[in-house]
Each structure stands twice: as C-alpha cells, then as structure tokens.
C-alpha cells in the first residue's frame, strides 16, 4: 500500500544518519536527494597535485558568473567547485540593504562532503540557557537525554580529540587527538596561565586517527594529514554521508537511493492527520511523481525543509504545513565567525611540523561561564592555528640564486584565529516564500530576512577584545585584528550553520516539533536537520544534528513498530 516505510528527504549530514538508523532497524527507506549521485573515484579531486591544478588555482570568470555566492567560501577552489550550487539556478531574495550568504551543495552527501569537520557537543549549560534567560523557548531535552546518542554517533563517525573534563564542552568518545604544534603548546601555556578560566585544546574533528573494525569494514581508513578534505577523501578518513552512513544503510539492503529528484510538497490527509505523499520533480526532466510512505523525515537542510513545508500549505494549515504554532520559518540562526586576527609567534625557528593537519586548536567558551559577560548573554569559542608556511619569498625583494634559496626556508610561526559566536533565536530572523517568483522547477523562491542584532554585536566586540588580550599575553608580534569598537560584522549565513526554523519545544503552541523531532501537528512527520535547533550554542552543530537524528530515528521506528504511526 505504501512505496516505503519511510521517505527521507535529503542525504546530507542528518539524512544519512536517519537512513542508516531506520534501515538497520529493518525499515524499507527511500532517500530522495535533489542533487546528483557521487562516485568517490570519479568525483573526488584529492589526487590532483598542485601542478595539475588549473589556472594556478585561480577562480575563472566563469566560476564567478556561475557561483557568485558560493565562490566566496573558503572551501571553494578549482578542485572543489564541482560541489557547490549554481547560484543562478537557485535564487533567493533578501530585503533591500540586507545580505544573506547561503552556501550549499546539492549532491549525494550534501554539505557533509565539504564541511569543516569540527565536532563539539552541546552541554547542559546550552540546553538550559533559553529557559534561564527567558529567550525563545526551553529545549525539551537536557544533556542527559542526548548524551547516550552523542556516544552512539561518535563511536560510528569517529571523532579525534582530547578528554578535558570541561563542563562547557563535554568530552566525546575520542580517537587520539591531533598534536598541537610547538608554537601552539607555548600559546596554550601562556593563555592558560594568564587567564585561568580559559583552555586551549586540540580541535575536535570527525577524522579517523585510530579507525575501528566497524569503520574499516565500511572501507574507511586513517587520516593521512593531506588537508585536501573539501575535495572528498578517497581514504574515507573524515566522516561524511558518502563515506559512512549511506554505505552502512546500503549494506542492509533496505535503502533505495533516489538522486536528481527534488521534493516540492508534502501531501496531507486531513481525515487521518497524516502525511500521505511526497510530491517530487525530476530535476533533469521536470517530470513529477508522488511517492508514499508510512512516515516522512525532512532532512533537506534548514532552509529547504522550511520551504517545502511553507509550500505545502493547505486549507487546514494555511500558514504552512505542520505550522499551527506559527513558528515555522522563524528563529533562523547561524554562528557568526568574527574577531579574526593574526600575527607571528617569535622564536622556535629550529622547529617544524610534518604533515598538513586538517584541524587546529580550540578555545572553548569562557564568557558567561568562567568569566562574566558585561552586558550580553552566551558566548563564543575560538578556532586557530600556529603554523609555518612556505612561499615566504613571493612578496620579497631579490632575484637570482640567493633569492631562490630564501624560499627553501619556511616562514616564522604564523598565528591565525577566528571566534564563532552564538546567535540568539529571534522571531524577526525568518524565511518566507515569495508570492510569485519561482525557480526553474516551479518552487517558490525564499525570502531570507536575517541580521545580526544587539547581543550578537556585543559578542563580536567582546570576542575581538578578548582575542587581542590573548595575543598580547602569548607574545604574538605584528598583530593584525579588527577594531573592537567597530569590528567587521559578517552577514548572516556566512557561518554555514543554518538552524532553528522548525524548533523543538515543550509546547505545541510555541514550537513546531516535540522533543523527539516529531511534528506536534502531524505524527508521521519528523524533521532532524538543523531546523529543529531551539538554540545554537557556539559549537559547530553537525554532531548535534547527528545525535538528534539517530535518536529521532530510533523513536520513530519504535512508534512505527508499536502501530502508533
């Protein structure tokens, strides 16, 4: 009677997890992916040497024409450009005088292929914050509810990091951490002795440094320190849907992968109060087709999942499907990458590093925790590195043999850092659909209206000040940094961590989802991409999407088996 037990819309970071968990519980699942299939051997460019990289790695005029928004991303280059959307085909609108940077890729695995791989747990402090500060709504879960699911996803995904026992940043199930460099060890010692409430720790990343049997069985191997990650990794050493969750789902024999098919609408059966069908468009032929399943998971990404529900409005849900709360599309969050700074750590010229670490150091949040925040809530963490770079002579005087020899020496220990600050849920930051404009497949174009507000701007200023003080304490010379009174305020979206537009909560009147990522309104609808996030913390969020996706899938499978849905 149904085509599948479950349809999962989107194959990225969270959709891959839902597919794996449901398929492993014996459910027949279909993953509908709007982008193309990915074949690691064909599509990954991690074998391309510098001398085979076209145009000295420079972006072409065609790149900029095709990808005016995507080509600004740090991870966009001549060996990764195949993964980023054609901006002309995927328009969105922002209010006059306001920007939004929507960075994305449509293909099997989604952004799990190009992500930054930094993986941090949220803590009890994060889950309690909204309630304590009366901001947004209270999370319907606490740390103890999600901790076992963090364990579960970390064991499978493989997280490299060091156990620190910090309340603000709970430890994961770790594989060995990447080493800090000599200069980072000095930085750590100086920062921690000058600021007793601050810690400098190795970054935590979803890289295999000591692969398990389970990981090797899936064809994954140890990280080779090439730092070519965003090209795709033939070793499968970093976690992606393509390297890990989708192969795990595939080997159950229970998954059907459908690529090049976009979901436009969910059909709703009012009598049974269920999602009864998933309307799709073939992105190549524009042929339409409706698939059916006993339940539907939206994992298309925060903005696309919201677009699908808004586009599925009907007589019973005039403001968007599953939106009786009116919260759908509101509270769009991100993290703001700010307070970037740099300089030189003098000395240690007789020391060097081996390999290209796809990672750096991390300074967990200390504001409104071990140190007070003056007139703001929440805080920020920092990511940075101190590294010796080559090509030191390209901008130096000199010609000939002597000049050439200077290039054989690496430069001094170069310090760089950026803060990631929390953005509060705010109903004014929201997504709506344009009343008439549509994309080439007929889906209404979204209007994305979000900007940095008072608390974020205070965080950015304080992060800049704190960053300058840490540079001073660590003896960084030739410092470069923003003016803390007038810092650069990046546009929303630049953090590439869209979250919050279908938040979970404790009350159906003020939230879209319950504590198991299930729609309050329609029991066979689940959403476990970033849109469920009730608040964002300042930690990179993918690990939290993974844990909630696995937990939601477990819950949904039980409901299905018990005949509840």
């Amino acid at each position: 009677m149904y085509d599948f037990d479950a349809i999962i819309v989107g194959s990225g970071m969270s959709g891959g997890w839902v597919a794996k968990e449901l398929a492993e519980r014996g459910l027949k699942v279909a993953v509908i992916e709007r982008g193309r299939d990915i074949d690691p051997v064909e599509d990954y460019k991690d074998h391309v040497d510098p001398w085979d990289t076209p145009n000295l790695g420079r972006k072409t005029p065609e790149d900029i024409k095709k990808h005016p928004i995507q080509s600004e991303v740090y991870a966009y280059n001549q060996n990764t450009k195949q993964y980023w959307v054609d901006d002309n085909e995927h328009p969105y609108i922002t209010p006059e005088g306001q920007d939004y940077k929507w960075r994305r890729g449509y293909h099997k695995g989604g952004r799990s292929l190009m992500w930054g791989r930094q993986t941090y747990r949220l803590s009890e402090i994060d889950f309690e914050a909204n309630k304590k500060e009366n901001i947004g709504v209270d999370w319907p879960v606490r740390y103890k509810d999600i901790a076992p699911w963090y364990d579960h996803v970390e064991r499978f995904a493989g997280i490299s990091g060091s156990s620190e026992g910090l309340e603000i940043l709970p430890d994961s199930v770790f594989q060995p951490a990447h080493e800090l460099t000599c200069a980072e060890d000095v930085f750590k010692e100086k920062v921690e002795s000058s600021f007793p409430g601050r810690k400098v720790i190795p970054g935590r990343v979803a890289h295999l440094t000591q692969p398990t049997e389970e990981q090797m069985e899936l064809g994954r191997g140890k990280c080779q320190s090439r730092a070519l990650c965003e090209r795709g990794c033939i070793f499968g050493a970093y976690f992606s849907s393509v390297s890990a969750t989708l192969p795990a789902a595939e080997r159950t024999g229970n998954m059907t992968m459908i690529t090049n098919v976009a979901v436009h609408k969910l059909e709703y059966d009012h009598e049974k109060n269920r999602i009864s069908g998933v309307q799709t468009v073939d992105v190549k032929t524009k042929a339409t087709k409706t698939y059916t399943a006993r339940m539907v998971f939206l994992n298309a990404g925060t903005i696309p999942s919201t677009m699908i529900l808004l586009n599925s409005a009907n007589a019973h849900f005039p403001n968007g499907l599953a939106n009786s709360s009116g919260q759908l599309g509101k509270n769009l969050m991100d993290h703001v990458g700010c307070a970037s700074a740099g300089g030189t750590m003098p000395g240690m010229m007789d020391k060097y590093h081996v390999g290209r670490r796809p990672n750096g150091f991390y300074i967990p949040r200390f504001r409104n925790h071990t140190e007070e925040g003056q007139d703001f809530v929440r805080g920020y963490g920092y990511q940075g590195r101190i590294y010796r770079y080559g090509n030191q002579n390209v901008n130096s005087p000199g010609v000939g043999e002597e000049y050439k020899m200077t290039g054989r020496k690496p430069g001094p220990w170069s310090y760089s850092i950026i803060a990631f600050a929390e953005i509060l849920p705010d109903e004014r930051n929201r997504i709506t659909l344009h009343s008439s404009k549509k994309d080439k497949w007929g889906l209404p174009v979204p209007i994305i209206d979000a900007k940095m507000r008072e608390n974020e701007i205070k965080l950015i200023k304080q992060a800049t000040k704190d960053g300058i003080e840490m540079m001073k304490a660590a003896g960084i010379v030739n410092p470069r940094h923003d003016n803390p009174e007038n810092p650069h305020i990046p546009a929303h979206g630049n953090g590439i961590h869209e979250m919050g537009t279908a938040r979970m909560g404790r009350d159906p009147n003020t939230s879209v989802l319950n504590g198991f990522n299930q729609s309050w309104d329609i029991p066979n609808l689940f959403i476990s991409d970033g849109s469920f996030m009730t608040s964002g913390g300042c930690q990179n969020p993918s690990l939290t999407y993974m844990a909630f996706s696995a937990r939601a899938a477990d819950h949904a499978a039980k409901l299905l088996k018990d005949g509840v849905i």
Binding site: V41, H47, V48, D49, P50, W51, D52, T53, P54, N55, L56, G57, R58, T60, P61, H178, E179, L180, T181, C182, E184, D185, E213, M216, E217, G219, G221, Q224, S225, R226, I234, M349, D350, K351, Y352, H353, V354, G355, R356, R357, R388, G390, N391, Q392, N393, V394, N395, S396, P397, G398, V399, G400, E401, Y403, K404, M405, G407, R408, K409, P410
Partner: protein, 193 residues
C-alpha cells in the same frame, strides 16, 4: 572484504597518481605558436583562442625575467619548471581581455624600464639589471605594481610546478601522521603545501 576494499583504494590512488604525473609531463611541453596561419579579426582574441596570447618577443622576455628571478641551480629554474608556459596559458585561457591587456602593457612597461633587449643579455648582465630594478621597486623608489604581481605569479607558479614542489621544496602527497613539533633539521626545507 575490508582488506580488499583498502587494496582497491590503494590501487586507485596509485593509478590516479600515475595519470596525473603523465598529465604534468604533457603540460610541461612548450606550446609553439603557429605563425603560418593568417590572423583575422581581433588579434588578441585569436591568440587567446589558440592558447598563445604572448607573441614570441613577449614570451622570450617573460621567460628571461622568470629565469633571472628563479634561475637553474641544483634544481630546475623557472624555464625548466615550465613557468613561462603556465603563465602563457593563464593569460591566454584563464584571463579575460582586460587581464591580457594588463599583462601586455605591464610587460612592455618593465621591458622599457630595463632598456634594450633584456632577453639577449648574458645571465650575469640580466641578473645585475633586474636586481637593480627589483630593489628600486621594492624600496618604492619606482612604483610598479605590475612587476610585483608578475613576480608573485612567477614564483608561485614555480613552487606549484612539479620540480618546484618536489625538488626545490618538500612535497609529500600522503604524509600519514601529523607531527606538530620536530627539529627543522629533520626536514631541512619548506613543505611545498
């Protein structure tokens, strides 16, 4: 299953590395301009379409400058590393007309400053002449942004070339474990990437 998979991956990587090495050799072969065909329409665009925007004189001048900045020593010089061809292709195929015009005018400017036929000088004469000009540009007694940009491009292209990366510097495509603090003497040279 597991070892098969890993073996398959290793073979794939080896095969891919082999292919890319062949590709590099092909790319290093100098392209020659076909002067026998008559050029019609926009001369620059025709050159660009053929991947040969710089004429013989410009190419010789660029090559001489590149080789003077990065001469052949115990490792390849800029010419042996294919730098002039790389820049020829960058300007011809990557750049647009304004980028090409910028390079043509820039090269002419530097060439005029150096006076006479730079390419025809002996290596020692070229070294003396260019060193003098270079120091004036870098101490700001002459303003020549193009020269700085050209030098940056030449030297970057050299370090991205196969001999530049693998002989002049250290290149390790698959380093294995990352080590954060080792004596520099163990490595001896800067990493290429």
């Amino acid at each position: 299953m597991m070892s098969n998979l890993n073996e398959g991956r290793r073979d794939t990587i080896k095969a891919l590395l082999a292919i890319s090495a062949t590709g590099a050799l092909t790319a290093c072969k100098p392209k020659t301009r076909d002067d026998s065909k008559s050029v019609s329409g926009n001369r620059d665009l025709v050159y660009a379409a053929k991947g040969q925007f710089f004429n013989a004189k410009e190419f010789a001048f660029l090559s001489a400058v590149a080789q003077t900045i990065m001469p052949k020593t115990d490792t390849a010089g800029a010419i042996e590393a294919g730098v002039p061809e790389t820049i020829q292709s960058l300007v011809s195929e990557w750049g647009d007309d304004s980028f090409r015009a910028y390079w043509r005018a820039g090269l002419r400017g530097v060439s005029n400053e150096l006076e006479g036929s730079f390419a025809a000088l002996s290596p020692a004469e070229r070294q003396a002449k260019l060193a003098d000009y270079d120091s004036k540009v870098f101490n700001d007694s002459i303003e020549d942004k193009f020269y700085k940009d050209m030098k940056h491009t030449i030297v970057s292209a050299y370090y991205m070339s196969e001999p530049g990366a693998t002989e002049e510097l250290h290149y390790d495509p698959v380093p294995g474990d990352f080590r954060g603090c080792v004596p520099f003497s163990e490595i001896g040279k800067a990493w290429a990437t």
